[in-house]
């Protein structure tokens, strides 16, 4: 059955209502600030439309999706069909591009998209959670210019959204694959090794080497590749210790070419040859952009010329994906920091949680999220005494408010700015936060 339509916001909430009646949990992730999401979409649109990208309206579900992953949310429709929701839009965009390629074989195709979708919630509560994604893809152009355009567009969006300083990291899936081929490992071990490179896990490498009976020389090479990161010249120097096969050499040339095409970007380009991106369909340069504000990846992407399954249908493709929750967090943190720049200490809120089911803190978190206010959550028993709490606040300049549960109905609040400690309820605290430094944060 062909997918019919994308899920709208209204559709999403109707689905949520339907699931709630059935007793299935559906979390609306992050208490999304829809004005802010619209702001990001508009800026993305502004950048990519000027470069010739067309909007693409993606279906969110299908009753015939193959091999649902652990992230795939599945639901039995009222008519008895099993519906799978897409959690990764890239294969879908590629399918559409492939269909259109038949009509226009020579021309480059550029698309951008955004959509909301339910995905499986793998936490203790199970059920579904709301996902949101946006991205842009460039088809039918295998050149380094196309890769560079994708990365530059992401950096432009960083500037337009005023996300602050970022860390650009580039790797090459082909380099890692070339290296793994040399080891001649069984196929199930290859995926494991790819993950170990990315995680920089040294003791797991030892266990892996023992399990697959690798030689000392091979272990040494794996460890060297794990640490093959840094600025371009340093990485190239490090690769001299590795004996590179044709695939690895060609990957290095491609990376060199890409960095030349990137030219002068505001951010220092860092390479990591052990980084191949967790999605195994990437074939060429891959990249991630991290924010220095929240230390999380905010963009990810790369080249994926051919999936394993449809290698016959060769279509050059590269693209980028916006990691929405992290971008939203950066914007919120920047906003709060800028609003409080006259206050010497920051305005971050820290919640100390003593039990998962605490209604007061749950309500407070939900209210803060809805207002778009950022908070850090710590688990219980740091504050053994008031003195401990004051020490924690003094030593951590990023925190201003510290909140923990006093009893069933009250919260204990420490306001560092006014050296005040008092009891309140979740509702009153939110009113207080809004009335003090945060009144404009909701606009």
């Amino acid at each position: 059955m062909r997918p019919r339509s994308t899920i709208s916001q209204r559709g999403f909430f109707r689905l949520k209502l339907m699931l709630t009646k059935k007793g299935v949990v559906m979390k609306t992730a992050l208490g999304y600030n829809h004005k802010l999401i619209y702001h990001i979409f508009k800026n993305l649109e502004f950048i990519v439309i000027n470069k010739g990208y067309e909007p693409l309206y993606l279906p969110s579900w299908s009753s015939t999706a193959e091999e649902p992953s652990s992230q795939t949310a599945s639901l039995l429709s009222p008519s008895g069909k099993l519906i799978h929701f897409y959690s990764d839009p890239t294969p879908l965009v590629r399918q559409i591009a492939l269909r259109r390629k038949i009509d226009t074989p020579q021309s480059a195709q550029k698309y951008f998209y955004h959509y909301f979708f339910p995905r499986a919630d793998n936490s203790l509560s199970e059920g579904f959670e709301q996902g949101i994604t946006a991205g842009f893809e460039y088809f039918n152009d295998p050149s380094a210019e196309a890769d560079a355009e994708i990365i530059k567009s992401c950096l432009e969006l960083v500037t337009r959204l005023e996300l602050g300083r970022v860390h650009l990291e580039i790797g090459h899936a082909g380099f890692t694959e070339g290296f793994i081929t040399e080891l001649r490992l069984p196929s199930e071990a290859e995926a494991k090794l790819r993950l170990l490179f990315e995680q920089k896990n040294q003791s797991a490498i030892e266990n892996f080497a023992q399990k697959y009976e690798l030689s000392k020389h091979q272990i040494q090479a794996i460890k060297e590749l794990q640490n093959c990161f840094g600025p371009l010249d340093i990485v190239l120097q490090k690769t001299k210790n590795l004996s590179c096969n044709t695939a690895m050499k060609s990957a290095l040339e491609e990376l060199n070419d890409l960095t030349k095409h990137l030219g002068h970007v505001n951010e220092t380009i860092h390479l990591d040859l052990g980084f191949s991106n967790s999605q195994c369909y990437y074939t060429g340069p891959v990249f991630r952009i991290y924010s220095h504000v929240n230390h999380q990846a905010i963009f990810t992407g790369g080249r994926y010329d051919s999936f394993e399954k449809d290698a016959s249908t060769n279509l050059a493709a590269c693209g980028a994906n916006l990691l929405f929750p992290n971008i939203l967090e950066v914007i919120m943190m920047n906003y709060v920091n800028s609003k409080n720049q006259n206050v010497k200490i920051g305005s971050r809120i820290t919640l100390v949680e003593d039990a998962k089911s605490n209604a007061q803190l749950t309500r407070l978190k939900s209210d803060l999220e809805c207002l778009g206010l950022s908070y850090t959550s710590l688990s219980a028993s740091i504050p053994n005494s008031l003195k401990d709490i004051q020490l924690l606040l003094e030593k951590n300049p990023a925190l201003r408010w510290l909140v923990y549960c006093e009893g069933e109905d009250t919260l204990q609040v420490i306001d560092k700015a006014y050296n005040q400690s008092y009891k309140t309820t979740a509702k009153d605290l939110v009113s207080l936060l809004m009335a003090s430094n945060f009144e404009s944060a909701i606009h």
Binding site: L124, Q199, K200, D272, H295, A297, T376, S379, I382, K387
Partner: protein, 203 residues
């Protein structure tokens, strides 16, 4: 150059890590044990003492560059950090425990109590058992005694607390050790500063 900040979980892990660093020549001023932040004499590292569950949060958010925490905590939390290496201290076991006379196979519906609800959930899934999980934040050994649960899933180090409550280990789920974790950006940007510390903590 800014000092490298290491988040340590309070207690035995922090003591063992500090001892390793002392052996490698780092010196810390003798001071009040209750102080949560300590800078070494050369001002190259700063130790941050935290509750174990908070160590991954501090590292993930970039407040600390490195962290040392038990693998049990990492299994329970989804943290976007590098798990660099296992360390040779903080060893213990995650076990399913209960009264000696109980047999797991007698239960159609298993009531588990644990400080580690995700681990308990995974256990039920792996064994294809139906059951309910009660989250407790401490004194888990009391749960089977007072009828809150049939079994508990908890860390066992010496087994003395279990024995004191007439409980025994029915199954060992996995081994636990301390793990050195790092913030993903800071590890790469400050690798030159961090790599001697890796050597100090792993030798």
């Amino acid at each position: 150059m800014k000092p490298i900040r290491i988040a340590l979980s309070k207690g035995r892990v922090a003591s063992a890590a500090k001892e390793k660093l002392l052996r490698q020549g780092y010196e810390f001023p003798s001071q009040n044990d209750r102080l949560l932040l300590t800078m070494d004499e050369s001002q190259s590292i700063e130790l941050l003492l935290l509750k174990a569950q908070d160590v991954p949060t501090y590292v993930e958010k970039g407040v600390a560059d490195l962290g040392i925490v038990g693998s049990d905590v990492l299994r329970e939390q989804k943290s976007d950090v590098f798990e660099l290496t296992e360390l040779d201290f903080g060893h213990c076991l995650m076990c399913l425990c209960g009264a000696k006379e109980l047999e797991l196979k007698d239960f159609d519906f298993l009531r588990l109590a644990s400080k580690y609800p995700l681990t308990a959930k995974r256990y039920l899934e792996d064994k294809q058992l139906s059951g309910e999980i009660t989250y407790l934040s401490g004194s888990v050994e009391l749960a089977p005694l007072l009828g809150v649960s049939d079994f508990i899933i908890d860390i066992v180090e010496s087994g003395k607390t279990l024995a004191a409550h007439d409980l025994v280990v029915h199954e060992t789920l996995f081994k636990i050790s301390s793990v050195l974790i790092a913030n993903k950006i800071r590890y790469k940007l400050h690798y030159e500063q961090i790599s001697p510390l890796l050597v100090a903590l792993t030798t």
